[in-house]
Symmetry: C2
Subunit: 201 residues, 2 copies
């Protein structure tokens, strides 16, 4: 059985939980508390030298890190990853956009505010995250203003990748009121079969 090294509040780990639920694939969940250094132990670093969750143990002793690589691996050959070459490339384009232009601002702000609960300590750093975070949301809003989903006009792992932290952006101090197309898309994602919330183990 697949084994997922997880931390329930993590949006990156939620991506793996969500695709596994939607694929109907059973898995064993190993919860690690990143706030207690449990991803920096020698035992865990032997699984992922980069010391981060999620990690998927695809077979005993074989480990895959990086949430979006896990999404691609699990969805290959399923309805959640297109088969046409350019559509596949577009899925990857959005997944790399998510990790480079979105997650470091929106997810990191949420981490400081909602998980560490240190909004005061991080006040200045949070301020610096606002402009690039809103820029990422604006890119998404523009795309979604004339598309139902990110790629191929249907729900794919590009949506899962971007949904994970966008739907909890307000926990990081990002207001979604001015992004009606994003709000409509969030509702479409939540309406997908076998959807589970980020708090579902």
């Amino acid at each position: 059985m697949l084994r997922l090294y997880d931390f329930l509040p993590s949006g990156n780990a939620y991506k793996a939980r969500l695709i596994l639920a939607q694929l109907g694939v059973p898995f064993e969940r190993i919860e690690l508390n990143i706030l207690k250094g449990e991803t920096r132990t020698p035992a865990f670093l032997s699984k992922n030298p980069n010391g981060r969750i999620p990690v998927l143990e695809t077979e005993p002793g074989q480990f895959l890190a990086e949430s979006n690589a896990i999404l691609v691996y699990l969805s290959e050959g399923t309805e959640f990853l297109p088969s046409k070459a350019f559509e596949r490339a577009q899925v990857l384009q959005w997944l790399f956009f998510e990790q480079y232009s979105h997650e470091p601002y929106i997810a990191t702000s949420r981490y400081w505010m909602a998980i560490l609960r240190q909004a005061d300590e991080y006040r200045e750093a949070l301020q610096q995250k606002q402009q690039p975070g809103y820029a990422a949301l604006a890119v998404m809003e523009q795309h979604l203003s004339n598309h139902s989903f990110f790629v191929a006009e249907r729900y794919t792992i590009a949506d899962i990748g971007l949904f994970a932290y966008t739907h909890v952006a307000e926990e990081g101090g990002f207001a979604l009121e001015k992004f009606p197309a994003i709000q409509d898309w969030l509702a479409r994602v939540k309406a997908q079969p076998r959807y589970i919330s980020i708090t579902t183990p």
Copy 2:
């Protein structure tokens, strides 16, 4: 013919130039000076709303952004991207590692120091990039201390993705003396057939 929207000093754009050279695929190169805002014009934003190079025009009017998505798109079905499922996933793992844990520290430092030439202005920010940048190099060093290349013991786009900014890390203030395995790997990459330097248009 493929068209590449490019900025010669960019390591991200170099990834596309290098794989195209190694595949022997001809392409037209459109140079944009990011220092003069040429990637923030309405004309360019219509190609990539995120306002970044490289962008590959795969056919007239069809644009693909994100350097590592371009690498995957171009290498699909070639020797530069493995066909086995788990090896493909490992390639993606390293490409996401590059964009999340490596590029924002090592490439950004080089951008401030070697391209903007504003090391003094960015002194404090540069300092903050040191620890996470060296942490990324340490992860690479550990992997390369018992692997010839990042995946499948042969040269793939995972190596191209990580080579682009690692081989010029010293331009961003990162010393490679303490990373002998990285140095040996850099030499192996430079010895690949049809290798071109980052300054080759």
